[in-house]
Subunit: 253 residues, 2 copies
Amino acid sequence: MRGSDRPAVALGAGEFCRGVIDEVADVVAAVKPQVAFFEALGHDGVRELESVVAHAKAAGLVVVLDAKRGDIGSTAEAYAHACLDDSGPLGADAVTLSPYLGAESMAPFLKRLEAGKGVFVLVRTSNPGSGAWQGTDAEAIAAKVGAWIAAENAKRAASFPYGPVGAVIAATLPEEADRWRSAMPKSWFLVPGFGAQGADASDVREHLREGLGALITSSRGVLFPSSGTEMDWRRGVRERALAFASEVRTVSD
Amino acid sequence: MRGSDRPAVALGAGEFCRGVIDEVADVVAAVKPQVAFFEALGHDGVRELESVVAHAKAAGLVVVLDAKRGDIGSTAEAYAHACLDDSGPLGADAVTLSPYLGAESMAPFLKRLEAGKGVFVLVRTSNPGSGAWQGTDAEAIAAKVGAWIAAENAKRAASFPYGPVGAVIAATLPEEADRWRSAMPKSWFLVPGFGAQGADASDVREHLREGLGALITSSRGVLFPSSGTEMDWRRGVRERALAFASEVRTVSD
């Protein structure tokens, strides 16, 4: 793409996203904008991201910013402000975090929990090669991150019966779900991998075991409803969202 | 900060950064803009980041975007485009990456190596709590990431005598430097922790062992030269940059 095309493409992307929000606002609980695709369009894209987040909040949706941020000290504080603060440019309700830099990299985000904000920390992700470094044994980094999440939520059990420090636990690894649910019984799970990545309702049964503790996401499965051109895209998005919600409901009811 | 103040604050931040670049362009090899501080100012901040990167490139400096990105699939591709492509909004020379999601999360960035772009992957970071999850034993994630970096550079030894897959190895852990240098002998190191974080020239001796293989960074030490108000800030920045370069040179010569 030429740089001169970016403002127009960004505006089109923003209009598409606002249209999707209008179609799904009464069907789903939350939306999860993927920051990368807006950043690829430069500051014009970031302006549209700000508008899309505001549009979703105005429609009463929870906004989980999928940013996978992770840094330390004043830099982590700047990311926390950028993503979560209502006085900042986005003011999302929650953000995804990458934990490689350690617990202190999450501290500035956790300061915002009392203000009603939340985080979802990567624990076990849905990509095929995720196990190589995250690992699955008790000494592995994923287990340590999971234990830290459970401890942070235990500290806050009086104010938050369901802990605001969430975990990203892929739907595509159903054989691990029981283990992670046992490790983090009162933590929100953000569960990607549904639909386009191959998982279905049977794969998220354990994630949902504690009742209201999982946010099951579907992105491409809802956003790109048809490979043909004849269908109205708004109607397609709505139909896919309704089908997705109905499928998830078969497990959670 | 009120949202209405953001355009003016962003412009001021951009002017400051362009002024710093003008002062240090003949003193240092590279600049490392920290993306978080621009994002905290919303799309106005991102516009200034684009301008700052362009200004540094025009001044002949290598630009390492400190973004610590990490995601998978099409999202990682979008981040790689956003950060590195000359047809994208920033076109930086290199970017820092967080490896939690595994080797495949780096693949879209590595596709850009042949075009002269580079990456620096977090291995051992300078924050006090970094060891808890990165670990230091042979089985730990940091060791696995280091081994992967060395292997990726070995694959490319014919075209790149000094591997373009770099590693972030903190200056504040000099006792580990020999071990990481031995694990990645022909890899660029990005070495934070100098100055404000407490490391000095004696701490980076091992990082620099293979000759031209380390980029020692100083951020707050150069950017905030004086707590007083009497000194011209541009002169202060230049003096600090000269002192920093001179100190690093005592090791590398």
